[in-house]
Symmetry: C2
Subunit: 215 residues, 2 copies
Amino acid sequence: MRLAELSERSGLPAATIKYYLREQLLSPGRRITATQAEYGDDHLRRLRLVRALIQVGKMPVATARQVLAAVEDESLDQNARLGAAVWALPQGQKPVEDDPATAVARREVELLMRRLDWKECLDAGEEAPAWGTLVVAVSALVRLGYPCDADDLAPYARAAAQLAVTDLDLVEGFHTPLEQVEAAVALTVLYEPVLLSLRRLAEAEESNRRFGTGD
Amino acid sequence: MRLAELSERSGLPAATIKYYLREQLLSPGRRITATQAEYGDDHLRRLRLVRALIQVGKMPVATARQVLAAVEDESLDQNARLGAAVWALPQGQKPVEDDPATAVARREVELLMRRLDWKECLDAGEEAPAWGTLVVAVSALVRLGYPCDADDLAPYARAAAQLAVTDLDLVEGFHTPLEQVEAAVALTVLYEPVLLSLRRLAEAEESNRRFGTGD
């Protein structure tokens, strides 16, 4: 298809697509004349992922480029590729401070991971960006004196394990290995606001169950 | 305690506390001389919540003030107060567009809520800010053609219901009704990055379980 059709089918203005091409978020089409190129379904699919990262995930272009590079890295096996692509997603800050609260958080997170026997995570430790984000989040709880030891965190981790099964079920619904990696990245990002808003709605239900007057 | 002690015990510079006082995020101390005021444990606790909202939750001061007003509203019963305070937390955008994707998302969210029989949420509908956020998040999935009908969303909702039980268990560990409302707000905000980073770690485990080479 030509650029005009790619624009129509993706719902993106041609100018936006040209910008993504210049920024190397989308590979060039197959040149057919000096001024025209031909695009395929892979371009359409890639645009969908770029929109998920940039328009919904609010990622800077440079970060999205890194994520896409990980998605495309065919030198890795499927597990490593999925892992690398999700790990390339932007995270909260890394634990920089070396204060007592961070030390406590590091200990509780490690204890939690050992109890759950999350081997992949234990192998990577703070090399896994999400481990660092978790330490920062837990150290904020420590600093403010809210409950956050390994026992408090365990039910959240069990819910996360269950969510990951659902996530990977959705991913396995896609056919090719590349589509699966793309879906893993997109669904990780796109389902975050779904999950957080469902949690707030569920809190309202649970609060009513416990404290409601029944009217 | 005097301002100096409040500063030391809260870990916040005196200048920051004075700023929060000026911005009415913290109620004034009891005046004891023309230049000195006395602060209590309630001030210390309130500072902890303000830090959770502003420093960790990155909320604008005006938004934090609205949340705190809801926390303090003693005209409501405990359930309404918990609900109002959590609802006052900032959310993603509201669904503004009236496009086909938003219409599909509205339908699927309503179908999901009916199936789950989440009565509080069904009563409020899009009046509940999290309902609007959910519609926006789902409409992004619809627009990009990713799976997001009521069946796809149901396992996320079930996990959210389980998380809400854990959240409210933590909240009920606090003693007074005011402390519980404060904790509900703080824990809703502070556990969001905990949950999202645990999900990414759990995805790595699950992906390894399914696609790993076992080495």
